[in-house]
């Protein structure tokens, strides 16, 4: 595949692949806000800053962000079952305990976030340290398990031996650096969200810089762990998305420099550049998934046929109709709510 994902693929495969990448991008933004925000909250808890404005903002918004992240996560989960049914199901079965553990971890994580919101800065010091750390553990388990699941879904060579040995943990070398890359990306994402909600420009820039540095280090580590066959996939279209990722990252780094050294907030520069970064990550993820089937002609053919069959199923116009209605309804409601809020005494 020489064209960037999803171009160059048969139409049905490109269609579902693009839908997966787009919906995954939406989910990823909020998932990263939750993971990065919880990590930041844990550090602020350790530093004993109960009245810190960033801590208050995070406590206030993280339960909502988690609710949205979970809701937005349903769509990519649906399209993934069409795009890579066999890989997704098989990895889910092989790592079933950890896969299923995501659910209680997220439920516990949500109630811990809500508890922190309710307690606010009234919580005892030890709780202010302990609660965010426990929450962070719950979300780290979730994020790590998804990284593990994703890599395992493509590592078909280990499936049979893993099953035979009843091994519940997949220890592929790519999993940890991949998760660290994802975790590092969450820091600039949450920094951007906090920047839009508060006036803590310099601190946000600091967190974003740490995240960008983490992304570079973990990306280098990830490359180092990849076998030559996987590295070979990093060409053509995937290389184009890598360049887009690098360009987005460079622009964002420049934007954060303006924020840090000139105290100028540049959402117009930062938001689009960061969206390019997140979208490129999602597109690369899918492009590499397709490339992993390059040497498996039969599996690839089977997948393409499955996409074509799925594409013939009815219902798409109804989805589009309701999507448009939803957008109009929510836009109208948001305007109405915003207007009333601006007139209310608490405005």
């Amino acid at each position: 595949m020489d064209l960037p994902f999803p171009f160059g693929l048969p139409f049905a495969s490109a269609f579902y692949g693009a839908l997966l990448a787009l919906t995954f991008t939406m989910h990823l933004v909020f998932a990263q806000i939750v993971l990065g925000g919880t990590a930041w909250l844990a550090i602020l808890g350790i530093k004993n800053a109960p009245h810190d404005s960033v801590a208050q903002t995070l406590r206030n918004w993280l339960p909502f962000a988690l609710g949205i992240a979970i809701t937005l996560g349903v769509a990519p989960l649906l399209f993934l079952q069409i795009v890579d049914k066999q890989g997704f199901y098989t990895a889910g079965l092989l790592g079933s305990h950890r896969f299923m553990a995501i659910l209680p971890a997220l439920i516990v994580g949500f109630y811990l976030l809500y508890l922190q919101k309710k307690l606010g800065n009234m919580a005892h010091r030890s709780w202010r340290v302990l609660l965010p750390i426990l929450t962070l553990l719950a979300f780290t388990l979730t994020g790590y398990s998804w990284s593990e699941q994703h890599v395992l879904a493509q590592d078909r060579d280990v499936w049979a031996s893993m099953y035979a040995a009843s091994r519940m943990r997949y220890s592929g070398a790519e999993v940890l650096p991949r998760f660290l890359f994802f975790a590092s990306t969450s820091l600039p994402t949450v920094a951007l969200a906090v920047l839009l909600l508060t006036s803590e420009a310099k601190r946000c820039a600091g967190v974003a810089w740490i995240g960008i540095a983490g992304m570079l280090v973990s990306a280098a580590w990830l490359f180092g762990t990849m076998p030559p066959s996987r590295l070979a996939a990093w060409s053509g279209g995937n290389l184009a998305w890598s360049i887009a990722l690098a360009a987005g990252l460079a622009t964002a780094a420049a934007g954060w420099s303006l924020v840090r050294f000139r105290s100028r907030i540049r959402p117009a520069l930062l938001v689009p550049s960061w969206l390019v970064v997140v979208l490129s990550i999602a597109a690369l993820r899918e492009g590499l998934r397709i490339a992993s089937l390059r040497t498996r002609g039969a599996a690839r053919e089977q997948l393409v046929r499955a996409h074509e069959r799925a594409f013939e199923v009815g219902g798409f116009p109804v989805f589009v109709l309701f999507a448009l209605l939803l957008v109009c309804l929510l836009a109208w409601l948001s305007r109405r709510v915003a207007r009333e809020l601006s007139r209310s005494p608490g405005a």
Binding site: G92, A160, Y163, A164, F322, L326, L330, R336
Partner: protein
């Protein structure tokens, strides 16, 4: 390599796989339906607060909404995702086929879910600063979206039981508006209102700082959503009337478990309905917190039994006429009768067996039986066949669908059938380290004859005539 999707098969020890999905399923349905009914109740309360100036209704609304959001948004949403994940663990092919057929319906349901969450969170966060009309609008969007989710998912779930036509291209709407769609939708909508109302009664009793009269006033308001419960018997009859004849036979004596579960669902619903009609609505009894929780417990029991019936009456299918409970299609059965079912199975065995035949038998068990049976735990085959003589075992397994009509036909050739018999006999002997296979040519011929006699056609209680002839070997 055939097109058949072999997935790794999990072993849940002594627990049946159905227990895992059933546990999460019942909990999810209960929470999700509570969220739907609760939403409509909130609309009613907001309407009264807005149009009649009922300050108490507004105060209660805010307390109740917190309970609704805290329970339903996260636990409801995650157990919904959990249903997908659990379904993968139990039968990946079933959920895969449902996604293939209905992914745009599911995607549309997701839009409604998104609207529900956004409207709900907006209300949760800003309601105190909004006018009555906007508050009502937000709650209306929330409730319509929540009920809309039920509308869409109901089409998919009822399709499993009554697919309503041939499968294939363009069949999505015929499948969606299948024969049990409307009764199931009405039934679930009324159950939702009942759960929302009963939970509200519990919250009313738990509220602090209100007088007995105010509590009574609120309880009567909340009871209004329980009114549809009075026509539940009629809806139940409607629902049962559209079930396929053999499914109806399961709940009217054909299967002891299904009949019992159906009886529990009917009895619990009737008791609940009688109490609601005579106690709450007519006599206006004061429902204490303990009584409200007891009624909710009864509703949970009715829901659980109802879901068990819904899952159980599909047997031997998981998607009627399309996919058997063991994830094999009729085409697979016919092909495997000739080629064998585990010849291309790429998944190794986790536990060794001394001979190749025993290993084949174990693989056959894993592929065809393990979704509903354990080896020696719940519904364990060791116990089920422990008194069968070898020939009896051969004949019963060869004609599974005639031995028990809720079983799918055996999907293998005479050699695989013999391997399964040998595997079960080996287990009965205590799994010795050495095993001499005593199979004779005559045994294989008998297996073959019995397989041919049984045919590959499914058999149901509604079809008690002579077995159909034809089909694969």
């Amino acid at each position: 390599m055939q097109d058949f999707p072999y997935y790794p098969v999990l072993d849940f020890g002594p627990a049946m796989k159905g227990m895992v999905i059933g546990g999460i399923g019942v909990f999810h349905v209960f929470v999700a339906q509570f969220a739907i009914g609760g939403g409509w109740l909130l609309c009613l309360l907001q309407w009264r607060s807005w149009k009649r100036g009922d300050a108490l209704a507004r105060r209660f609304l805010d307390s109740y909404f917190r309970v609704l959001v805290l329970i339903s948004f996260v636990v409801g949403a995650l157990t919904g995702v959990g249903m997908w994940l659990t379904s993968i663990q139990v039968s990946a092919r079933t959920i895969g086929m449902m996604v293939d057929e209905f992914h745009w319906i599911w995607a549309t349901e997701w839009l409604f879910f998104l609207a529900e969450v956004i409207a709900g969170y907006t209300f949760y966060r800003y309601a105190s600063r909004l006018t009555d009309s906007t508050r009502f609008l937000l709650l209306l969007v929330y409730s319509l979206a929540a009920w809309g989710s039920l509308f869409w998912i109901n089409g998919i779930l009822s399709w499993q039981l009554t697919p309503g036509g041939e499968h294939g291209v363009g069949s999505v709407w015929r499948g969606f508006f299948n024969p049990s769609f409307w009764p199931s939708l009405v039934y679930r909508s009324f159950v939702s209102l009942t759960l929302g109302g009963l939970a509200a009664l519990a919250v009313v009793q738990a509220m602090q700082g209100i007088t007995r009269e105010e509590r009574g006033h609120l309880a009567r308001t909340c009871s209004l959503v329980l009114v549809p419960m009075t026509v539940m018997p009629l809806v139940g009859i409607w629902y049962v009337s559209v079930l396929p004849e053999d499914s109806r036979a399961w709940i009217t004596g054909g299967s002891a478990l299904m009949t019992m579960a159906f009886g529990i669902a009917v009895a619990a619903s009737s008791l609940l309905g009688l109490y609601v009609v005579f106690g709450v609505l007519w006599k206006r009894l004061n429902v204490s917190f303990a009584t409200a929780m007891l009624l909710l417990g009864l509703a949970f029991g009715a829901s659980g039994a109802g879901e068990l019936v819904r899952e159980g009456v599909r047997k031997p299918y998981t998607i009627r006429d399309l996919l058997y409970a063991n994830s094999l299609t009729q085409d697979d059965v016919e092909r495997f009768r000739v080629l064998g079912s585990v010849r291309d199975d790429p998944w190794p065995l986790r536990e060794p067996a001394p001979t190749a035949s025993l290993q084949t038998g174990h693989r056959v068990f894993r592929l065809q039986c393990s979704v509903c049976h354990t080896l020696n735990g719940a519904n364990g085959v060791d116990h089920l066949v422990e008194t069968w003589r070898p020939d009896q075992m051969r004949m019963n397994l060869a004609s599974l669908q005639h031995t028990k009509s809720f079983m799918p036909p055996f999907a293998g050739n005479a050699t695989e059938l013999e391997a399964l018999v040998q595997f079960l006999l080996w287990r009965r002997s205590g799994e010795p380290g050495e095993w001499t296979d005593t199979t004779t040519r005559e045994d294989l011929d008998k297996n073959h004859r019995w397989l041919v006699e049984a045919t590959t056609a499914p058999r149901s209680l509604a079809d008690q005539s002579t077995p159909k002839q034809g089909g694969g070997r």
